[in-house]
């Protein structure tokens, strides 16, 4: 079993490579950079190929002026400058792969246009690599507390029982697998920082939290894991405030690192709009409606309900009640982050998040769910009669998720607005 856990990431790499090659391996396959992925990626060709951080030159060269509507890039009304819906974090993380693609394009005599063959696959491979890095860290976190069998079952459930694999392979140019990786790093760093707040850890805490905000601004909520880590009763909050005050110096260092990491995005917003902080969706007339959230729909509906499409995550809810040991330090942070995340997603007018497999709004935080899935498995292992039932239910949930992911890939499942009637009509049909 220990060997299976050790080899899990290699096995995941083989499966991901095979799936990616099947989807995008042929010359006439659709481009891996598509839909929202375009606007996450567009900073890289604009800066490194067209030598222009304003995004203007690329628009002129490719589209004769305006960006296509699907890209979500709009001119800010008062300045006429291009404002991207999506911030720069994903592009920063994908940058090494982009630069390698650029060098390889020169080597192979492909056009250095930012979107030709190697740039497309560079973005695709980057997503797979970040999935594998995230899984490696998650395995490390889980292994310290749980048995090899529990760790292996949890890694399989998180990778294939949710939409994580889909967002690493099919929609890898989107931000979600990058955020998954960062949240894995974040949980690991927070724990290390509370053990010993060294200078390096403090700098890393600030940089990683800020980078996660740059990947997706609403990921600011994950920063709450830091002050809440280890708080196991609400009455501990006062003591936690005292602990944080005692660590004002490392917190200050983290804050400086965070602000420096955020600085390029803030400067860009200031230059484009005249404001340091901007809701880029204003250019599309979209804003949160916090008073009327679609809470039940976001969690349980056939459209994009989190637990409907990833029922394995119900184990994480059960895991909160049965968690023991170090995982208990994450109970309150996970509950608070999940509650805020659900409320934010449910308050968004397009709460389905467009064309997606499962609900992609929750993919970023799967690293916080994983220890509780593991806790549920560990509880089951301690209560032997439940093992066959839990194992059967988990296997069925993972197989169903994989089947539905393939249905989505081949266009059988609707991309959004799935009704109950449609779901049953298409249940396990592959043509």
């Amino acid at each position: 079993m220990a060997r299976a856990v050790s080899n899990f990431v290699v096995a995941a790499a083989l499966v991901a490579t095979t799936a990616y090659a099947t989807l995008y391996g042929s010359i006439d396959a659709p481009p891996p950079i598509h839909s929202d992925g375009y606007s996450y990626f567009v900073y890289l060709p604009s800066v490194f190929i067209y030598r222009d951080f304003t995004l203007e030159r690329l628009a002129n060269e490719w589209y004769g002026g305006p960006y296509p509507a699907y890209t979500g890039l709009r001119r800010w009304p008062s300045t006429g400058r291009w404002l991207n819906l999506h911030p720069i974090g994903t592009a920063i993380l994908a940058m090494p792969f982009f630069l390698a693609s650029d060098l390889l394009s020169v080597w192979s005599n492909l056009p250095r246009d930012g979107f030709s063959l190697y740039y497309q696959h560079g973005a695709g491979i980057a997503a797979v690599v970040y999935l594998l890095l995230g899984l490696t860290i998650l395995r490390h976190l889980l292994r310290r507390e749980f048995s090899d069998g529990v760790v292996l079952a949890t890694l399989i459930c998180i990778t294939w029982g949710t939409n994580l694999f889909h967002y690493a392979v099919f929609d890898g140019s989107f931000s979600h697998v990058y955020a998954f990786f960062l949240v894995c790093v974040w949980v690991w760093l927070v724990e290390a920082w509370w053990q010993q707040p060294t200078l390096g850890r403090s700098l890393a805490v600030g940089a990683v939290a800020a980078l996660n905000v740059l990947v997706r601004h609403t990921n600011l909520i994950f920063a709450l894991v830091l002050p809440l880590y280890g708080v196991t009763h609400w009455r501990d909050i006062r003591q936690r405030a005292v602990d944080l005050a005692a660590r004002w110096r490392p917190l200050g260092i983290a804050a400086v690192a965070g602000i420096l990491t955020l600085a390029p995005q803030l400067a860009l917003y200031k230059w484009i709009t005249g404001q340091w902080l901007v809701n880029a969706y204003v250019t599309h007339g979209i804003e949160f409606s916090f008073g009327s959230p679609h809470l039940l729909a976001v969690l349980f509906s056939t459209q994009k309900g989190l637990f409907f499409w990833s029922p394995i995550l119900l184990l994480s809810v059960a895991g909160v009640w049965v968690a023991t040991g170090p995982t208990r330090a994450l109970i309150i942070p996970a509950i608070v982050v999940f509650a805020l995340q659900t409320w934010l997603i449910a308050s968004w007018p397009q709460w389905q998040f467009g064309s997606t497999f499962g609900h992609r709004g929750f993919t970023d935080g799967l690293a916080l769910a994983a220890p509780f899935v593991a806790s549920a498995f560990a509880w089951s292992a301690r209560h032997r009669p439940t093992v066959p039932w839990i194992a059967a239910a988990a296997t069925a949930a993972v197989l169903l998720s994989i089947a539905q992911m393939i249905q989505y890939w081949i266009g059988v499942l609707p991309q959004a607005d799935t009704t109950w009637a449609q779901y049953w009509d298409l249940f396990l049909k592959f043509r």
Binding site: D28, W62, G64, L117
Partner: protein, 147 residues
């Protein structure tokens, strides 16, 4: 792990990288690679074409001595001005073609210089002076004939 095994792993990694780079210098499938071109369409029946965006790239065999590229503007330039197409062969300027009649197919033939390198294909880049929304169409390009 012994130093010998580490050295062997590094050597194997470097060798693999060298083999991959050697292969990617001139892969046999490069002739089918395009960028900035949509899929093939047919209009009228029998006439195949592809839409470009503002840039388009395709590859032709390195040994070709001439290349004929059918081009059609469809949409005129601003104020009825011609649509200009810059044609480059492996980054060298080959020609500037002005498409004055939006409805007419133009079939310019370009002489191609002998390629000095060892590659099987040469890269042809088109840069189009105007793109028309909402579908961001540049010009129509037909089937390229090389000799």
């Amino acid at each position: 792990m012994t130093a010998g095994r580490t050295w062997m792993k590094w050597a194997a990694g470097c060798l693999t990288l060298a083999v991959v780079l050697g292969y990617l210098y001139d892969p046999p499938w490069m002739g089918g690679v395009t960028s900035g071109l949509r899929g093939w369409e047919e209009d009228p029946p029998g006439t195949l074409f592809r839409w470009t965006t503002g840039r388009a790239t395709f590859f032709v065999p390195a040994g070709a001595t001439t290349m004929t590229v059918p081009l059609r503007a469809v949409f005129p330039g601003p104020n009825g001005t011609p649509v200009n197409v810059e044609v480059r062969d492996d980054d060298r300027l080959l020609a500037n073609v002005a498409l004055t009649d939006p409805d007419a197919w133009v079939r310019p033939t370009f002489p191609l210089k002998r390629v000095a390198g060892r590659r099987r294909f040469r890269r042809i880049d088109l840069r189009i002076s105007r793109v028309v929304g909402p579908f961001f169409l540049g010009i129509m390009t037909g089937e390229v004939v090389v000799r």
